[in-house]
């Protein structure tokens, strides 16, 4: 096989894994500002109407066609009801988003950031948000954890899209959310205790990816690592975290908020778990 054909084959094999692994952000969003603003403000209003002070929100940051089976949302973070001081020094009520980003360069190194819903949803492929509102008690514990030194201490900047949630070698955005959730539930910042309980009670999402594709992605992409897995690949996803919260009776409500792109009509739909 010629070198060109080998490269073409590699490219074709890698496309889905490469896309799911985060990939290069587009220079321009798929949606107009008014569409993104309607989704983000509509979500804020849906959360506020339910009295949610802390919620876990997911976004569809990648084309559904490249996502592995059972995974719709590519990213997750915490929405926290806040008083926001604006640049012109006014105080307004709304939600701030706390989450782990990998960064545009995809170096396999992540960072924590606080931004706002319109930033969080700026680069999405579907005008849709996944939402889990934890129980009142868990919301209080999450707020306390997020605004404590534990939150920063749980961050591992070594990013892998396939990070094993039972181990501390790598972390992805959803793995970070999971660690914070368990830190809040068990009121601890001890990574060993957190991981022990995750292993005992959390069922990660199996990721079915062709072995050859995976090996090539592992070899060529800084943000794909598989050496923290000894068996089948499984990782934390927005859906698996939602299932954990719902199945353990510590979710007050779980739903999707969807905006119709043309009419900008927002609606609540069932979260597919």
């Amino acid at each position: 096989m010629s070198r060109a054909r080998k490269l073409l084959l590699a490219m074709c094999l890698l496309l889905p894994v490469a896309a799911w692994a985060g990939n290069v952000p587009s220079a321009k969003g798929l949606f107009e500002f008014r569409q993104i603003a309607t989704l983000s403000k509509g979500l804020e209003r849906a959360l506020a109407a339910r009295g949610a002070r802390v919620a876990i929100i997911g976004r569809v940051g990648l084309p559904p066609s490249v996502m592995p089976p059972g995974v719709e949302y590519s990213h997750a973070g915490f929405a926290v009801y806040s008083t926001i001081r604006t640049a012109d020094n006014r105080m307004v009520p709304g939600y701030a988003v706390y989450n782990l980003y990998q960064g545009d360069a995809r170096t396999g190194v992540s960072f924590l950031m606080q931004d706002y819903p319109v930033d969080y949803f700026a680069a999405i492929h579907v005008l849709k948000a996944g939402v889990v509102i934890p129980s009142e008690k868990l919301q209080r514990e999450l707020a306390e954890t997020i605004f404590s030194p534990v939150y920063q201490s749980l961050h591992n900047p070594r990013y892998s899209v396939l990070a094993n949630p039972f181990r501390t070698d790598y972390q992805n955005c959803t793995g970070f959310v999971l660690d914070v959730v368990f830190a809040a539930i068990y009121r601890t910042g001890d990574p060993r205790r957190i991981k022990t309980n995750i292993a005992a009670y959390f069922e990660p999402q199996p990721i079915r990816v062709d072995g050859l594709k995976l090996a090539m992605a592992d070899a060529t992409m800084a943000d794909v690592s598989t050496d923290d897995h000894t068996g089948p690949i499984a990782t934390a996803t927005f859906e698996s975290i939602a299932r954990f919260l719902v199945n353990n009776g510590i979710a007050k409500e779980a739903f999707s908020f969807v905006v119709e792109p043309t009419t900008l009509y927002g609606s609540i739909t069932e979260l597919q778990l």
Partner: protein, 112 residues
């Protein structure tokens, strides 16, 4: 696969995905939000939504939690933030669209 061909494959992949149909799963989006924002300054939707930059955000929490927050905000700001009575039930939300704005490096490199 040697380093050279690895680079080549990766480059092709990156080039392939740099079109408008792609966006990162965990990729930071605030810069893109700004791009949206810049197009939208002065633009309002649903009869009054307007764009503002958020300088700081402080959580509303339940009674008894005051003073336990850490971070850049001081107690004074915290108390100001929590001055309204804390209620159970529906919460007010501003009609304004708050954005984080550009990354610090982009902000500094903006033309004067």
């Amino acid at each position: 696969m040697n380093a050279k061909s690895r680079f080549f494959v990766t480059s092709i992949l990156l080039a392939h995905f740099s079109g408008p149909a792609t966006a990162g799963g965990s990729a930071e989006a605030s810069a893109r939000a700004l791009e949206h924002s810049m197009q939208a300054i002065g633009y309002s939707i649903q009869g009054g939504l307007k764009l503002v930059s958020g300088a700081a955000a402080l959580p509303f929490m339940v009674a008894g939690e005051i003073g336990r927050v850490s971070g850049e905000a001081g107690r004074e700001l915290w108390e100001e933030a929590n001055a309204p009575p804390l209620t159970i039930g529906p919460l007010p939300v501003t009609d304004e669209i708050v954005t984080a704005g550009p990354k610090p490096g982009d902000q500094l490199n903006q033309p004067e």
